[in-house]
């Protein structure tokens, strides 16, 4: 479980993709997102997924993206089952489930390869208000901490005889109470402490704080952006012009 939960989390890796400007990575991620959303045939979704996995290999993050897909597989199965149950048809149900996986992996390629610092700079560049940027980036930064907390709480409760995997569905949901209560309480306490610490370090003292780093597009970034836009245009052309069976 711990292994799978690491899916969406950024980890510093030495890869050419990680070194790209975050805006380049955002563009690639958005392009994948768009072509996943517009895909109307299983073969198209499969091509998108294969392309995402190709980028994941280039980013030396195939395992992480694999974990993301594995984590999302349960919900994809739910989408498939619900659609099938309401008479959408086997192929279309499969298409919706796969499209969901393609969308999740497209967005996760950005989050897995972009550090919270880069995310912060990108959001500021997009003109997002500073407080919202701070809240969002802090939330992202705290995902691994909260996950670690959750696993420690699970260990503590298992050591008190709690068997998380036992019982029917309702019992299993009830078993989560001893995990969720300390997790939420700890997170609330931590957020209060963080707010106090930030204020003690002059957060909000000046309306326009200075920044040590500035985003700069390199020649490599520009080339990658151009190639990705050409790929995006080609895929859109194929979507519109080439007829494929659903």
């Amino acid at each position: 479980m711990h292994w799978v939960a690491g899916g969406f989390v950024f980890r510093r890796v030495e890869s050419p993709f990680h070194k790209l400007d975050p805006r380049t990575k955002l563009l690639i991620s958005l392009e994948f997102f768009a072509i996943s959303l517009l895909a109307f045939a299983i073969i198209q979704v499969a091509i998108v997924l294969a392309s995402v996995l190709f980028v994941a290999v280039y980013a030396k993050s195939l395992k992480r993206i694999g974990r993301t897909i594995l984590m999302s597989a349960g919900f994809a199965g739910f989408i498939f089952a619900i659609n099938l149950l309401f008479g959408v048809g086997l192929v279309s149900s499969l298409l919706y489930a796969l499209r969901f996986l393609a969308i999740v992996s497209s967005t996760s390629i950005f989050f897995v390869t972009t550090s919270p610092d880069e995310l912060e700079h990108t959001m500021k560049w997009l003109g997002v208000p500073r407080d919202i940027v701070f809240a969002f980036v802090t939330a992202v930064r705290f995902i691994p901490v909260i996950m670690l907390d959750a696993f420690q709480i699970m260990d503590a409760q298992k050591s008190r005889g709690l068997e998380l995997e036992k019982g029917n569905f309702v019992k299993r949901i009830r078993n989560m109470v001893p995990i969720l209560v300390p997790l939420v309480v700890n997170s609330v306490v931590r957020s209060g402490e963080l707010a106090e610490a930030m204020e003690s370090r002059a957060y909000g003292a000046t309306p326009k704080p200075t920044s040590l780093y500035k985003l700069r597009l390199s020649r490599k970034d520009k080339s990658v952006m151009l190639v990705s836009l050409l790929f995006f245009a080609a895929v859109l052309y194929i979507y519109l012009r080439v007829k494929v069976p659903v």
Binding site: D149, D155, S159, R160, L162, E163, P178, P182, N186
Partner: protein
């Protein structure tokens, strides 16, 4: 009681946390596990109730391989008091917090009532019975976590960094509790950096460094071995340091540190 036989443990990220651990802890022993951060102390004790299973080798509790039992089953014999009380307190009242494990282990109602009353009284928490655990101070929360574990009367009690955030009085009370455990034949394993807390208990000392046990013996002997302690980045208790200094300067012909303790106490009184 607890036996580690040639145990290795590697985390999922590839970090080797334990290497070739051979260790036997007998019933009624007080064992203190010391070592620098990342030496593998917590990883070692997490094997004792099956929270972690060895990558290689075998860990047994009363002859039973921990890989064949769930943590919940092993916890009936081995109770762990975790470092951070906030990681386990969740109930609306202290009463419900203490009986949580007793219900999980299937104790009869009458026994639960008896154990609850005993635990609340023993740790001086009876005035908070119907209060939320969240209103307690840090020290009280720590006592509550101990009460939660002692309530089900495990044979082995593991205390992970029990003195963190505790004032001097609380530490003394905790030391008294550990001595009481020993007097009733419980096995106590203490993971701590606090050598001043460990030293008066005179436990068996297990020194860890880089995932290995580099020293195992009476604290009275190992705490004098400055070279060993320095290699494992463990400090000597102040009393041992003073004893060594006095001995080196031939100020007083002490035989051991206990005698030195008496001398220093008398000197302070004078």
């Amino acid at each position: 009681m607890i036996n580690f036989s040639n145990v290795d443990f590697t985390h999922q990220n590839g970090v080797v946390a334990l290497r070739a651990i051979n260790l036997t802890i007998d019933r009624g022993e007080i064992v203190a596990v010391v070592g620098e951060n990342g030496a593998g102390k917590t990883t070692l004790v997490r094997h004792m109730n099956g929270l972690l299973k060895p990558s290689r080798g075998i860990v047994t509790v009363d002859g039973v391989d921990t890989r064949r039992r769930s943590t919940a089953q092993l916890s009936r014999k081995v109770g762990i008091a975790f470092q951070n009380p906030d990681h386990q307190l969740f109930s609306d009242t202290l009463e419900n917090e203490i009986i949580f494990a007793l219900k999980n282990f299937g104790f009869p109602e009458e026994t639960i009532r008896q154990r609850l009353d005993w635990a609340l009284n023993f740790f001086g928490l009876e005035q908070y019975t119907k209060d939320s655990p969240l209103i307690l101070s840090g020290g009280e929360k720590k006592r509550l976590t101990l009460a939660c574990i002692l309530a089900w009367d495990p044979d082995v009690i593991i205390l992970d960094e029990p003195t963190v955030g505790q004032d001097a009085i609380q530490k003394e009370r905790l030391a008294e509790v550990v001595k009481m455990f020993k007097s009733v034949g419980k096995t106590v394993v203490i993971v701590s950096h606090d050598v001043e807390f460990i030293w008066p208990l005179q436990p068996r000392l297990v020194i860890m460094s880089a995932g290995r046990v580099v020293g195992d013996g009476p604290a009275r002997d190992l705490m004098r071995d400055r070279g060993l302690l320095e290699s494992a980045r463990v400090t000597q208790p102040q009393l041992v340091q003073i004893h060594a200094e006095l001995k080196a300067s031939n100020s007083h012909p002490f035989v051991d540190t206990l005698e030195a303790r008496k001398y220093i106490t008398d000197m302070v009184k004078r």
